[in-house]
Amino acid sequence: MFPDPTEINDGDAADKEDPAESRLSDVAAQEQSLDAEPLSDQEKEQETEETENTERQNNDSTETADGGTEDAAVDHDQSDSGEFVVTVLAKAKLEEQGIGVKGRSSPLLEAGTQECPAFISHRDEDVTGDSWRQHRKHVFVLSEAGKPIYSRYGSEEALSSTMGVMMALVSFVQSGDNIIRSVYSEQHIVVFLQKGPLVLVCVSSSRQSEEQLRGELLYVYYQIISMLTQASISRIFEHKKNYDLRRLLAGSEKILDGLLNLVDSDPSFLLAAIHCLPLASSLRDSLSHILQKAITPNLVFSILVAKNQLLTIVQEKTVIEDTRLEPTDVHLLLNLIGASSAFQAGEIWTPICLPLFNPDCYFYAYISYLDPPECTVCLLLLSTDKEAFYAVAECKRKIEEAMVAQNSLSLIAKAQSYSVSQVGVSDLRHFMYKPFDVPDTYRQLTQFTSPEMEAPYSSEEEKMRLLDLYRFMHSRIHSTSRPLKLIYHVAERETLLAWVTSKFELYTCFSPLVTKACAITAITKLLRWIKKEEDRLFIRYPPKYSTTPNPSKSSRGGKSDQQDSTDNGFLSLL
């Protein structure tokens, strides 16, 4: 559909290599400059799967330097994010490549300035003291007309100049019948994603791969779709090219902020899989059974969540035949719950689109906590009928009654994630295991299992460091240019092994002195343990119910009455 993407790269690396490659060499060239991070010489050896514990010194300096770089980045960003992006782009030597940022951007800059919304400056700049890593990743959303739609951080002025520069780039490259995909500079990657009338931009110093960052931008896009639907966004911009989408998204910034925080801290997004809470299969079955019995016409999904993890999910029969619920849609739902639960006493009824299920159509979500005031167990019921609130709320009553009768809440309260020590493999500190075919039934929800992050990964910093290592391993394994099956990575403070087969994807973290032979034995044991525990670790057989006398109403893209409600009535206000 699109002509060849333009790849804009840092000076010397720009010429012939593909993105991943050029980035590698880019970083490799800077090894002495402290922030080379895990991408060192070492990994060339890893690809041979036979790594000695070399390069210690190199790693040592990178890891300590890493924290330092981040601090510096925060200071830098706070001064002026617009300037910051300009600097980043300038560092990428765009002008030398004839991009001419300055000339192109000035009119856009001016256009952006007048229309910055008041709410952006009202936005909480700092959410909960996590400020140390807040600015390592900026995310911007703008319309094709250059109107700012969302910025993760940043003041009004910073926003307008930032968006101005970005639009200048996007439109300049577009004018050459090309699409800008990324810009690399010494410390940052700028990744662009165009989806319909929206342009999403990420400026990252997190050292994640371009593909990973683009995946994260896609989550942001989908979250916007989940609130407005793709159809209505296209219609809005067809109707009015320079429409200010903030009018419709005002108030949703916290949902996007929350999503981006989750993306940074929850590996579910990286793995594109669901993390369910480990539960005795008998308990999970009984919960499923309770959900299965509390139904009403047009109910299509019943989902039970505890501590932000899935307990069980029950689907309408015709729906499950038609398709399955994608992990992304579940992630967006869970994020919505998290972001809308400030006032937890009430029962929420809200339209929501599941973009991968059907990007143009709304479901109506009933959200209610079952254990006030703690509010850890949340029931989510999705209906295709806008008017079904009272019927759906009645289902909740039934579910609540049944759960009281079976003492389910106190059993759920006891359920916990597990400790890696339960696996009984010394030297194993943490792992993430994502099977490709959980049960023998087809089209199961993609899941993964992972123990708690425990010492030495208990602090936020250390958790993040481990996640960054996983992200690095993930990007190497899934490298588009050189995909790998197995990586054995010896780092300073731990040794990691990532392995992809046709059956699973596995990331493991060992203490640093483990030998390769030990690690392999450990993994064998781990796989055996997972096999033994899989009924507890995964949702095995997703139950179904039937609520639709008229199947066309609930199935994907049902053309009946949902279609006219795609805009939720807000289009009439344009």
Binding site: H122, D124, M227, L228, R247, L248, L249, A250, G251, S252, K254, I255, L336, A339, S340, A342, F343, A345, G346, E347, I348, W349, T350, P351, A365, P372, K386, E387, F389, Y390, A393, R397, E400, E401, V404, S565, D567, N568, G569, F570, S572, L573
Partner: protein, 261 residues
């Protein structure tokens, strides 16, 4: 066990409408939890049940965002009272009530009563700055630090300007008279006689969810006023127990809806 599990059918429905950020959620939270805390912009609508003496009152706290415009009429269906909320420091929020929210009430019960509520009075009126319920005071002080002050909220005493002598400070954009005039237009829109309806003085409130000023008065006045409606519903339910008060009402309301906008 939460009382909700033993929920009886709600006797009556009250709906909070108004632009985003005017403080609907905060008002309800102040009334039900006796607290003022930071809120998140509501998604869709949130349903609450309030025990009022022997009666069950359902309250819908709706989202003010345009994104959720289409659901408004669903939340209002069969409502006995609608609280039209604006922010006294924001003229546009009153204008929005007229432009965007009034038509949503077409699906309300024919005997529905309307209250016009100017919230955030603590920002403009000295008498609204005193916290009303003692149990919430200290917490309010803490919460105050956490919520972004709108304009003057950091100011403990009203400025001694001439404006404040008349009980109004400079950032007040909507006067009670404006609100009362709007109330008059609501009656006209509904085709109601001013004489036979509740008077504007009684139905226009200025409140502060932050200090609690007038919040109990607002809700309790309304609950008292919907009592006849409750009794009528109960009677109807006795006569035909299957009648659901949330059910879609006759074509009359639908016709009304399509003629407006």
């Amino acid at each position: 066990m939460p009382e909700a599990s033993k929920m009886k059918k709600p006797d009556v429905k009250v709906v909070l409408l108004g632009d985003m950020n005017v403080g609907k959620t905060s008002l309800l939270h102040r009334y039900t939890e006796r607290r003022f805390k930071d809120t998140i912009s509501t998604v869709g609508g949130a349903f609450f049940l309030k025990q009022w003496g022997p009666y069950n009152i359902s309250i819908w706290d709706t989202a003010g965002r345009e994104q959720f415009h289409g659901l408004g009429s669903m939340y209002c269906r069969g409502a006995s009272a609608v609280i039209l909320t604006y922010d006294v420091t924001n003229w546009q929020s009153l204008a929005e009530l007229e432009e965007r929210f009034l038509s949503l009430t077409d699906t309300a019960h024919h005997g529905c009563i309307y209250a016009v509520v100017g919230n955030k009075a603590d920002l403009t009126d000295s008498k609204a700055q005193l916290s009303q319920d003692s149990d919430g005071v200290s917490e309010d002080q803490i919460q105050e630090e956490m919520t972004k002050p709108q304009v003057l909220s950091a100011c403990p005493t009203p400025p001694a300007s001439p404006a404040s002598l008349s009980g109004m400070s400079l950032n007040k954009q909507v006067t009670r008279e404006d609100a009362m005039a709007f109330y008059g237009r609501i009656l006209r829109y509904k085709g109601l006689e001013e004489k036979g309806s509740l008077p504007a003085e009684k139905m226009c409130f200025e409140t502060s969810a932050k200090t609690g000023y007038n919040v109990d008065t607002l809700f309790e006045t309304l609950f008292d006023l919907v009592l006849p409606s409750i009794l009528r519903n109960r009677n109807e339910n006795l006569q035909s127990p299957t009648v659901d008060l949330e059910e879609c009402r006759g074509a009359g309301s639908k016709r009304a809806r399509s003629t407006c906008c």
